[in-house]
Amino acid sequence: MSALNIKKGATSHSAYDLRDPNAQVSESHTLAVLVDNEAGVLARVIGLFSGRGYNIDSLTVAEVDHKGHRSRITVVTRGTPAVIEQIKAQLGRIVPVHEVHDLTADGPSVERELALFKVTGTGDKRIESLRLAEIFRANVVDSTLESFVFEMTGTPEKIDAFADLMRPLGLADVARTGVAALSRGL
């Protein structure tokens, strides 16, 4: 869903069509937003996304500096370059927002997500799931005779890949944290 792309056909080139005609390619960007850890700040950020029709593919938020009273919101969003610029500008003018970093545009970064997978089954499928978990460096954090809970940290793509492999082996439930990200280097 993207409100900025609603105008197709009859109403294209209208005053409401905000697409940059030269840059129609939608890109995924990971944004780190440093905010005052105060009541309602998350609502301000996600309200901006829903109110202006931007996408949220992933959202992670936690306090990162207890003394400084700061939280870090990591949001993965997608849009044309013009829309991404607009999202950053809109985030930046929210009063309790201190910094907005575009980790995708600002250079190399590391992105990690933690996921828990519950895989149920017996026999060969159970053994196969354990073998694959070893290859993916997933840890077993809970076990019964008919189930495992695997814990894995990695890029969203790696977690997607592991989930795809587990599905035919009895994947019953997945919990994902969403992306946490930092820029590489100093």
């Binding site: 009859a10 109403t11 294209s12 080139h13 209208s14 005053a15 409401y16 069509d17 905000l18 940059d20 005609p21 009541a39 309602g40 609502a43 301000r44 309200g47 109110g51 013009a82 610029e85 607009q86 500008a89 809109q90 930046g92 003018r93 009063v95 309790p96 201190h98």
Partner: protein, 584 residues
């Protein structure tokens, strides 16, 4: 200076320390402690409105006409929700407001208590920032921060929600200078390299135009002064949005008139044909741009704005300059002078020749009548009879608003109060009262339509109570004129719900409110009637019966570019195509 006092007393003390002299409000259960404090002092005047929406629009009128923030006090629940429209209006037009709302006591929040509403939740997208204060010790600090946020950067409305127990409890008062305004210090100085790049373009431009907006007025009178100096020194033509009228005088030689959907032909054609567009404190609103793909196709564009999200939001610009208009204009003038005050005189002379040809179209001309008052004629006479007076104009929203912008002339900033972004019918009457409260001796006129005016007509009671001699100049066509015009142009003349049935007798209504009513339906008697209105020392409702089916021209139809303007009735058949009809 730290002192112990109740939260309610803190509210009044904080307002005093912020230099507030008037509050527009309405009492209720959750703000009774604050009203009790207001009762026991005389520094701050309280204007009792008849509906909370009226309070917010009054505060907007006060703010827009003084440059100081407007202050509103309302109770919880319906008090706060009634204030929502006004807050969104102020947000869209960048008007600084401080709205204080009562809330149920903290221990009742979340229990669906009587007159409880999630006020900060409801108003989060309606304000620049809002706060729920749960601790009396933080109340004064929050109110001071609220003033700081409302007035710095792009101005806007803020709300502080104050539970009743926080008002009763005692805490430590914090004075304004003790408050850390934190990281919120928006940049006001523009980037010198960018300003220099713009000046270089100005030196060679053959067909430049200044396109100015409400940001010039928000920046303060000095910005308007600098703008005038820049325009006179360069000789560039200048046009303005609805919100920016008065920043450059309408009597000035370089003035092209307002631009946009109902702007002047020469202003819109200059925008379309220019080779350098300098946007100063405007935001490329859709009323201005028309069809984006064909918006000023041959120009390089610079945009001066204090809000980074305004830049490249709608129109991609070549030179973005982030900063306060006043600061940037000062630097621009200095750099331009230091580089030798160069302009392309030959190009400019040709450009003015072209503009004069467009002017010769006389796009505001209309067919006058001796039998019936044309709305344009009524405003021409109002202009002529009030020219030179200490005059402030507010409007409602619709055809009359556009005619007022076209036919009334503003030579000073802060003299024109209108709901531009949100287009709030019912804005003008309360706004006129707010202006009059701020300027008791001035002539304050609300140019209204019959339908808009009814939306907040209860505020005539406020005008009478507080002896605000506002003049309500109602262009009465017994229609929702702009709706009717659009239905004529693009809905096959099916006038669905766009007439005003059962209108009140405005003269009797005036008498019922205890003010003066005047009715006029004869062009020959109009001048005398307007003079009677102006001479009356008190509020007047002027029922000006005008032509019912007059359309507002010129007009850029929805979905069309600037160079496809409609100039009169003859050219309107099939003017708006299907793709334009879906726009507003």
């Amino acid at each position: 200076m730290s002192r112990q006092m109740t939260g309610a007393k803190m509210v009044v003390q904080a307002l005093k320390d912020q230099g507030v002299d008037v509050v527009f409000g309405y009492p209720g259960g959750a703000v009774l402690p604050i009203y009790d404090e207001i009762f026991q002092q005389n520094d701050i005047r309280h204007i009792l409105v008849r509906h909370e929406q009226g309070a917010v629009h009054m505060a907007e009128g006060y703010a827009r006409s003084t440059g100081r923030p407007g202050v509103v006090l309302v109770t919880s629940g319906p008090g706060a929700t009634n204030a929502v429209t006004g807050m969104v209006d102020a947000l869209m037009d960048s008007i600084p407001l401080i709205v204080l709302s009562g809330q149920v006591p903290t221990f009742m929040i979340g229990t669906d208590g009587f007159q409880e509403a999630d006020t900060v939740g409801i108003t989060r997208p309606c304000t620049k920032m809002n706060w729920l204060v749960k601790d009396t010790d933080k109340l004064a600090e929050t109110i001071h921060q609220a003033f700081h946020v409302a007035m710095h950067g792009r101005p806007g409305p803020v709300l502080v929600d104050i539970p009743k127990d926080v008002q009763f409890a005692t805490g430590t008062y914090t004075a304004p200078r003790e408050v850390k305004t934190g990281h919120y210090q928006p940049r006001v100085k523009g980037d010198t390299a960018a300003i220099t790049a713009l000046v270089e373009l100005m030196e060679t431009a053959e067909r430049p135009v200044f396109y100015t907006g409400g940001g010039v007025i928000n920046s303060g009178p000095a910005a308007s002064q600098l703008l005038r100096e820049l325009v006179e020194a360069t000789g560039f033509p200048i046009t303005s949005t609805l919100m920016g009228l008065g920043a450059y005088p309408a009597s000035g030689p370089k003035w092209l008139g307002m631009l946009g959907m109902h702007g002047l032909y020469e202003a819109n054609l200059a925008m379309h044909g220019c080779d350098l567009m300098v946007n100063i404190g405007a935001r490329f609103d859709d009323r201005i741009t028309g069809r984006i793909a064909d918006f000023s196709p041959h120009s390089r564009k610079a945009h001066i704005d204090i809000d980074p999200s305004s830049i490249n939001k709608v129109i991609h610009v070549d030179i973005p300059i982030l900063g306060d208009v006043g600061h940037v204009l000062e630097d621009m003038l200095n750099i331009w002078k230091a580089r030798g005050r160069k302009v392309n005189r030959e190009g400019l002379a040709k450009w003015w020749g072209q503009i004069d040809q467009w002017r010769a179209k006389k796009s505001l001309s209309y067919k006058n009548s001796t039998k019936i008052i044309k709305p344009q004629y009524a405003l021409e006479r109002l202009e002529a009879l009030t020219k030179g007076r200490d005059r402030y104009i507010t409007t409602e929203v619709g055809q009359h608003q556009m005619w007022a912008a076209q036919f009334l002339h503003f030579d000073e900033p802060n003299r024109w109060m209108t709901s531009g972004g949100l287009g709030t019918m019912g804005y003008g009457l309360p706004a006129s009262i707010g202006v009059q409260i701020a300027h008791p001796d001035a002539l304050v006129i609300n140019v209204a339509g019959d339908a808009s005016w009814l939306m907040n007509m209860q505020e005539m009671g406020t005008a009478v109570q507080f002896r605000a001699p506002v003049k309500q100049f109602i262009l009465n066509n017994e229609r929702l004129g702009m709706v009717r015009q659009w239905q004529q142009l693009l809905h096959g003349e099916r006038y669905s719900q766009s007439w005003s049935e059962s209108l009140p007798d405005f003269v009797k209504l005036a008498e019922a409110f205890g003010c003066k009513g005047i009715r006029c339906d004869d062009p020959a008697k109009l001048d005398a009637a307007i003079e009677e209105m102006l001479a009356y020392d008190g509020p007047v409702i002027f029922d000006c019966l005008v032509e019912k089916h007059e359309n507002c021209f010129p007009m850029i139809p929805s979905g069309k570019p600037h160079n496809e303007m409609l100039l009169g009735d003859a050219s309107t058949d099939g003017a708006i195509k299907a793709e334009g009809a879906v726009l507003v």
